[in-house]
Amino acid sequence: MMSEAGASALDSAPPLTDEVPDLAGLSFVETYRILKSASPDLVRSYCNKLEQLPLGPSRTAALSAFFRTLIQVNPVLTKDIILGLKKDDRWLPTSAIRETANPRGMETVAEVMLSFDRIEISSCSYDLLRDILDEWGKNDPLALKQFLETHRDQDVERYFDKLVVNWAAYDPEGAREWMAKEIERRPLLPTRPDEYGGEEIFDSEWRSAVESMSSAWVQGFLAHDPDQATQYVVEHADNPAVKYALNWLAGDLFLASPDRARDLINRLPEEQQSKSLGSQANGLVRSDDSDNATSPRYVAEWMLNFPPETYREDIGWVLRVWEMSDPQELFAWMADLPAPTRDQMINQFPGVSSETTQEDFDTVMQVPDPALRTQLLERLARDATYAERQLRRVLEKSTLPAEEKARLASLIPKPEFETVSADEDTE
């Protein structure tokens, strides 16, 4: 049942005035009612008055509440108002509408974001527009398709993969047909051998967009029909789009069904099994997950269903996440493993870091099982190539017997090159 405050706000609304209400202090329902009842001119007037407030959190709060509600009431007017502001003044409203827009308002959000320079909304590590388009595509891929098609002049091909991955989840063949038309419309330029034995690539951005779309399609298809997609992947494992999609496929399938993910990996050619398994290790395992599906223990035990040569490369990451979140649970698990498997885990145990040498050492010193503890200390020593000096110092200061210190120190490889690290100056 709607809150009483909300119900009464709808039923008994006070008349609107030119005075801007205290939007930040009102409930959403009240603000929604006010802006819905106001004429566009009155809404613009409110905005102008809010813009005139002195800089500070009260102004930010008021403008934020105003735009977060207006995007729900009237996305077109919202876009109009924001695009009428100076560019520097658009950030606050853009941020406000990004967070709350209903999918029907996402076109407005995208249009507003495209009014900024590319460098202002994206970098090597983030792309604000991509996040919005992904959310939009999940809800309404056909609307997103229309948007992208009508904004080709604004360098939006880089986002085609976001459309395709979400569209293919609903309608893989429809998405594929569209991709084919896009390539027909703008064919890829063939590559050409260069003088160094490689290949010269032309129109690289479009090529990259097409490659991304193609592998995204496979991902979307998996979401649409995991069984059919699994069969498809196995049958076309040598297709470049499918191969590239393997970076994510098993991980996506794992979330739905670890058994299905295992079956898929087992059916892949051997050389692709390890790569596919890696997607679980790197992308899925969560140290804070109380739900078994992606906890380090669950993922590690699932990976042990495969031969060592398949999981060997990637289980180290899972062990690292587990060690950071619950080392005692990890050590107890390792101690209970059959000897050959335990040895594999010891060989893949995270090495010591030059920045956290003492902490890494202290963690291993807490291993309850003496034999396992010794084996792990030996592992740290043998793998200390990039933390050789640090580990020697830590060993020296430790409470281990002198003989044991010397023995472990003798296992540390001699460095190829003398390096000077910053922490030497501080000690």
Binding site: M1, M2, G6, A24, G25, L26, S27, F28, V29, Y32, P54, L55, G56, P57, A61, S64, A65, Q72, E99, T100, N102, P103, D117, I119, E120, C124, E135, K138, N139, D140, L142, N166, Y170, D171, P172, E173, G174, R176, L188, I201, S208, V210, E211, S214, F221, A223, H224, E235, H236, N239, P240, A241, L255, A256, R286, S287, D288, D289, A293, S325
Partner: protein, 438 residues
């Protein structure tokens, strides 16, 4: 010459991006024909997206709206549906969303449902989000509630994060930033009882808001809080907020702490704000600062916007000419390190304006400025800098400045500079005469 580290970094980024593009490329050479995944999927209307969209007989018709396709209807309808639904229906819908197949559609549906509900009835949205059993949908719901809840209902969001009891990952940054805009005391009370992780950056934003509303209370909180919070970023935001409320008191207090390096970032941040508002105000502040180091921190922060120290955009959009003139208004022991770069930049796009300005200063000072500009010449476009050096009237200073640039450089570099300098015959002859003495 001082290294142009920022430009090198920008160059690296530009270089890495296409390399990343190439490395990300598939290792197998592809032909256009094989780049698409092969088609083999029979078209099924039952799975087509068109069938997922609700077909509405008329506006306001909710009969075909399902909770899974809430994101495909206008907000009005979604609002009407959720605000009129009895609580049992909301509970049932949340359960149903959780049991949908793990697909983007589920994520989308959960996001829309909880974003919409959080705006209408935050308390119920929080209760339902916390009741979800599986981690993935629960976190989607929590995230949606966290971003969408209105300012007036943030106590409910606080309750949500308290119940989650996450201790390793910082979660409440956005909550405390938003909440402190309208109720910093309540935010502080929440933080006092919250055992989760809160970073100093998050504390900084909270405190900045509080200082802008009630600097006395904010300062008291800062004094009583753990010393680990007494870091440059927190002080910077604190003073930035205080300046908005009571500029005079804030600047006096900051100046009093100016010798302490912990306050350097605060000096930099406040200087920027002052300059954009009033260069004279910024100048007064610089002159208030107790040490040369503090003054230089303020100056370099402003000058950096013009000399290209900051990667990406200059977010203040300062005019080079304004910065040059402002800098020159300061005592010369403060401007001489930075002014050369700034004049050189200015001359790069408006040489006649630079000439006009320089002709208005006393000759001896003009010579000094030309010498600074020359020493700060741009290796890629050295013409303006070198020509400035050749304009120095005082022969000794002229020769010393130009020799200083070429001294120690290998012959090839010297020749490259001369080639790029595009000097007139007379200028080239003068330079040659000077360099003969090397």
């Amino acid at each position: 010459m001082r290294p142009r580290a920022p430009l090198v970094l920008i160059g690296l980024c530009v270089l890495v991006a296409p390399i990343g593009l190439v490395l990300g490329r598939w290792s197998v050479a592809t032909t256009p024909a094989s780049i698409l995944p092969p088609t083999t999927v029979p078209r099924s209307e039952a799975h087509g997206f068109a069938s997922a969209k609700p077909s509405l007989a008329e506006p306001g018709d909710l009969s075909n709206v399902t909770i899974e396709n809430l994101g495909q209807v206008e907000f009005d309808l979604a609002f009407e549906l959720l605000s009129s639904a009895p609580k049992d229906a909301l509970i049932a819908w949340a359960k149903r969303l959780e049991t949908l197949p793990v697909t983007p559609r589920r994520t989308a549906a959960i996001g829309v449902f909880f974003k919409t509900l959080a705006q209408i009835d935050t308390k119920t949205a929080v209760d339902l989000a916390l009741s979800m059993e599986r981690a993935d949908p629960r976190w989607v719901a929590i995230g949606a509630v966290g971003v969408a809840a209105p300012l007036a209902n943030l106590t409910e969001v606080a309750r949500m994060y308290t119940a989650i009891n996450e201790t390793k990952v910082p979660l409440v940054g956005e909550l405390i930033e938003r909440w402190s805009m309208i109720d910093p005391e309540a935010t502080a009370q929440f933080l006092a009882g919250y055992s989760g992780k809160v970073t100093n950056d998050e504390i900084a934003r909270f405190l900045g808001n509080w200082a802008a509303l009630d600097p006395v209370a904010a300062m008291q909180w800062l004094q009583e809080t753990d010393a680990s919070r007494h870091c440059p970023r927190v002080f910077a935001d604190f003073y930035a907020g205080w300046v908005l409320k009571d500029r005079t008191a804030a600047l006096e207090d900051l100046a009093a702490h100016g010798a302490d390096k912990t306050f350097k970032k605060a000096i930099e941040t406040v200087s920027e704000t002052l300059f954009t508002d009033s260069p004279d105000g910024a100048r007064s502040f610089v002159l208030m600062l107790p040490t040369i180091a503090a003054q230089k921190a303020a100056i370099e922060q402003i000058a950096g916007h013009v000399t290209g120290r900051y990667l990406g955009n200059d977010y203040l959009h300062l005019e080079t000419e304004d910065v040059a003139k402002w800098l020159f208004s300061l005592p010369d022991n403060l401007w001489h390190e930075e002014i050369g770069y700034i004049i050189d930049r200015w001359a790069g796009y408006d040489p006649s304006a630079v000439d006009t300005w320089l002709n208005q200063v006393p000759p001896q000072t003009k010579d000094r400025l030309l010498a600074e500009q020359c020493r700060a010449f741009n290796w890629n476009v050295p013409a303006a800098g070198l020509k400035a050096g050749l304009q120095i009237r005082d022969r000794e200073l002229r020769e010393e400045t130009l020799r200083g640039i070429f001294e120690g450089k290998v012959k090839e570099l010297q020749e490259e500079l001369l080639r790029k300098a595009e000097l007139s015959g007379e200028q080239a002859a003068e330079l040659e005469r000077i360099l003969k003495k090397l």
